[in-house]
């Protein structure tokens, strides 16, 4: 067949063959049109076919590659080990991604390295055994990822600096308004005291917002490493920190035995405290009943916090996790609208997801996934 040796080989249409079996020409068109670089090598590692994208990616013409060793496209630091790896593949030929999680590079004609992903497929035909490699240029993706990471870091740094520097003047405003009320309350009339209360309330709320924003910005930058963490102890500490709210609301909180997960213990405590705190805060007429359950699904644990509170209408299931989004007036339920956004960020930092299910007036169930400890 001599795939790829010449660009305009005759299409070998066989009238005997039952249509619609793909013809060689069709195969050629598909390979040519592939957005991935396609390189086929024989068992000795000699290139027998390349497509247009491969030419573009590596800067060689087809004639410069076909008949050459595949090692020509491998960076020099991997050249010595590459033949052994090819032998390894031939010993156990299965379609798979190359490199098993390592960063792979190809080398361009001009010597520069190109970050790539490579899928390998064994192909056995009459002419013998071949390996078809599909090469994706991940340079643009890597660049976008790097830019995204940089801009996220900058945003977090910005939020941190802004929130820290905003605390100072705000503290002055609130301190002096409070001092005014402390010193002069017997000389001021009811209106004046009202105005002072509004000013103090506003400053206090802004302080809370800034503190929450600071916490939010620290999830990504100040996190501890993710290590096996016993959730039971973290849960019990979270409950202890909510003691006042538990007593005040006359709540009953129960849990399944909780597993060990791969987590940052401090952030896990914050996550549980926020969710349990919400379960108590958004209670209905009944004393709160809260249950924390744990269910294993594959590599992840799903943890759910079920309450019997006021619940959330389905149209807000997504919105509750967005920063500064609130569903109630501050008079009904105090808060800054940052708590669940912090939860979402924490869960996502751990590679999990968080969601809510609820029937209004019957309670809400917040669930999140966290990685289990590998066995």
């Amino acid at each position: 067949m001599g795939w790829g040796r010449s660009r305009d080989a005759a299409p070998g249409v066989d009238p005997e063959r039952k249509s619609p079996a793909p013809t060689e020409q069709l195969f050629r068109l598909v390979v040519e049109a592939s957005p991935n670089g396609v390189v086929m090598v024989d068992r000795r590692g000699v290139i027998v076919l390349v497509n247009r994208e491969t030419e573009r990616l590596f800067g060689y013409t087809r004639d410069e590659l076909v008949g050459q060793s595949i090692e020509r496209l491998v960076p020099s630091r991997f050249k010595s080990s590459h033949p052994d790896m090819r032998q390894g593949f031939l010993a156990n030929p299965q379609a798979r991604a190359m490199g098993a999680g390592r960063d792979l590079f190809g080398v361009h004609k001009d010597g520069s390295e190109i970050p790539v992903e490579i899928g390998l497929n064994p192909i056995e035909v009459e002419e013998g055994f071949f390996v078809l490699a599909s090469v994706i240029d991940i340079g643009p993706r890597k660049q976008v990822e790097a830019e995204l990471r940089r801009s996220n870091e900058e945003l977090e740094r910005f939020a941190y600096v802004v929130s820290h520097d905003l605390q100072e003047p705000l503290r002055t405003v609130s301190s002096y308004v409070q001092l005014l009320s402390r010193r002069y309350h017997d000389r001021l009339d009811a209106d004046a005291m009202d105005f002072i209360d509004f000013a103090v309330g506003g400053a206090r709320r802004m302080q809370q917002l800034i503190a929450d924003l600071l916490t939010f910005s620290r999830v990504g930058t100040r996190g501890a490493p993710l290590v096996p963490t016993g959730m039971q102890a973290v849960y019990e500490n979270a409950l202890a920190s909510l003691r006042a709210a538990l007593d005040e609301s006359n709540a009953t909180v129960t849990s399944d035995p909780l597993p060990t997960v791969v987590a940052d213990a401090g952030q896990l405590a914050q996550l549980l405290t926020n969710l349990l705190g919400n379960a108590l805060k958004f209670r209905g007429d009944q004393p709160p009943h809260v249950h924390v359950s744990a269910r294993r699904a594959g590599r992840m644990w799903t943890i759910s916090v079920q309450d019997n509170g006021i619940g959330i209408a389905p149209e807000y299931f997504e919105r509750v996790f967005v920063i500064f989004q609130r569903l109630h007036s501050r008079e009904e339920y105090p808060g800054t609208g940052v708590g669940l956004a912090i939860c979402k960020r924490i869960v996502e930092r751990h590679g999990g997801r968080i969601w809510v299910e609820s029937t209004p007036a019957q309670g809400a169930r917040f669930s999140f996934t966290l990685p289990a400890v590998a066995e």
Partner: protein
């Protein structure tokens, strides 16, 4: 019968005038007689501490902010604790910082206490009151 105690001298090192005044107001309510002296930056503070003319008494207690112009509080703390003539004076770091790093560093440099300034004015007054009670009443200091 109460024995008349000479007033305690306290050096407040603080660049923010609003905080200076607030601290002065809090010390006005103090039970222990005291004189509050103010340095607005690190250089001025060390100048007052090393004053040879005797116009500024050597303080019994130093309240030190960390973020100061010219010479910041960490450097001032280090200089005080390395100075044979000053190192016995208790230094309380009084900062808006909650940072673990600032706290650890201050203690390593020899701070005698680290206190985060509360945002609430009543809490702030309580903090000053408890500093006064501990350092000027409970603790025994070297007094001239």
């Amino acid at each position: 019968m109460a024995i008349a105690v000479p007033p305690f001298d306290i050096l407040l090192v603080e660049d923010n005038l609003a905080d200076v005044r607030l601290t002065q107001e809090a010390f006005k309510d103090a039970r222990v007689p005291n004189r509050l002296h103010v340095a607005r930056d690190g250089v001025e503070a060390l100048g007052m501490l090393r004053d040879a003319t005797g116009t500024v008494p050597r303080p019994d207690l130093i309240l030190l902010d960390l973020n100061l112009p010219r010479k910041d509080g960490r450097e001032v703390l280090q200089d005080i604790k390395q100075d044979e003539a000053l190192r016995h004076i208790p230094v309380v770091v009084l900062s808006t910082s909650h940072s673990e790093h600032d706290i650890a560093r201050s203690y390593r440099l020899g701070a005698n206490a680290f206190v985060t300034k509360p945002v609430d004015v009543d809490r702030f007054f309580q903090v000053i009151r408890s500093l006064e009670q501990f350092w000027l009443d409970t603790a025994r200091l070297i007094r001239p």
